[in-house]
Amino acid sequence: MTDPERIESYTNDLAKALAPVATTDRDEIIREIRAHLEQRADEGRLTEALEGLGSPQACARAFRQELALQDAFDDGSPVRTFRALLANAARNVIASVGLFVTGLFMLIAIGLAFTAFVEIVSPQTTGLWVNAEHSLILFGTLDEGRGDGFTEILGFWYVPLALLAAVILFVVGQKSARLCLGLMIRRNRKQHLR
């Protein structure tokens, strides 16, 4: 295999391994690694350079580790944010707290959305329940016979209100996750300055 073919093969494999990275970053990384390899090839040191870079997968992993938090923060999607917290939860307190708080908000949001759906199917058993005697307020579904003393106060209004609450909780959960990611990035920077 000639030097240009080896460089082409390496950068192609690197591009595949960098698939999860944002396109602009990926293109810039490939361009720079290609320039590096071409310069080393001109110096007759291509083999040494390829050994130094490691396999395309290992090289891509090093980039992904450096960029993962910032990428997730910049991307802003709930899935990437949640995955970034999950990936760091075992070794970072902020990520653990963020994961717990976000998970809690998301679970309640999903629960509310689900009960809104059940309200449509089974309006008699679902809603916002009030027990004046015991000063209790519950939302969701009560099995028939267990609702003694409880009065449902919203009727069909439960559907839009539960969905609105679910959306608000989802947004608050997402904001909490981003706040934690931002704190982790700032903390990393401070650690590098110490």
């Binding site: 970053d25 990384i29 361009r31 720079e32 690694i33 320039a35 590096h36 071409e38 310069q39 080393r40 350079a49 130094g52 870079l53 490691g54 290992a58 090289c59 090093a62 980039f63 580790q65 450096e66 960029l67 910032q70 920077r189 590098h192 300055l193 110490r194």
Partner: protein, 112 residues
Amino acid sequence: MKLESWKSQLRKGAAELALLSLLGRDALSGTELLDRMADYSEIGLSDGTIYPLLKRLEREGRIAGDWKLPTGSGRPTKHYSLTEDGRIALAQMQQTWSVFRQELTALLGDPQ
């Protein structure tokens, strides 16, 4: 095995300081940085570690990269230079390193 892990932690901060320090003097490409670091193998910068580190420093706004065509002929290469944030970070890191080195040397004694 434990020694390698310790060295790896030690190198992570040192490599960043070394890079910023070199870029504080000149705008350099990754290849030029590696060539200047060739005699300092214990710091542990290699072809595989330098580019992810440069990428992160660039994202953090401490260095800025610029593609340049060499005068005469040749391929374009990305040259990095320190930003204002990078200069402040370098000054803080140098000061911290100086105190750290003095304290550790005092604790360890001068190796004969």
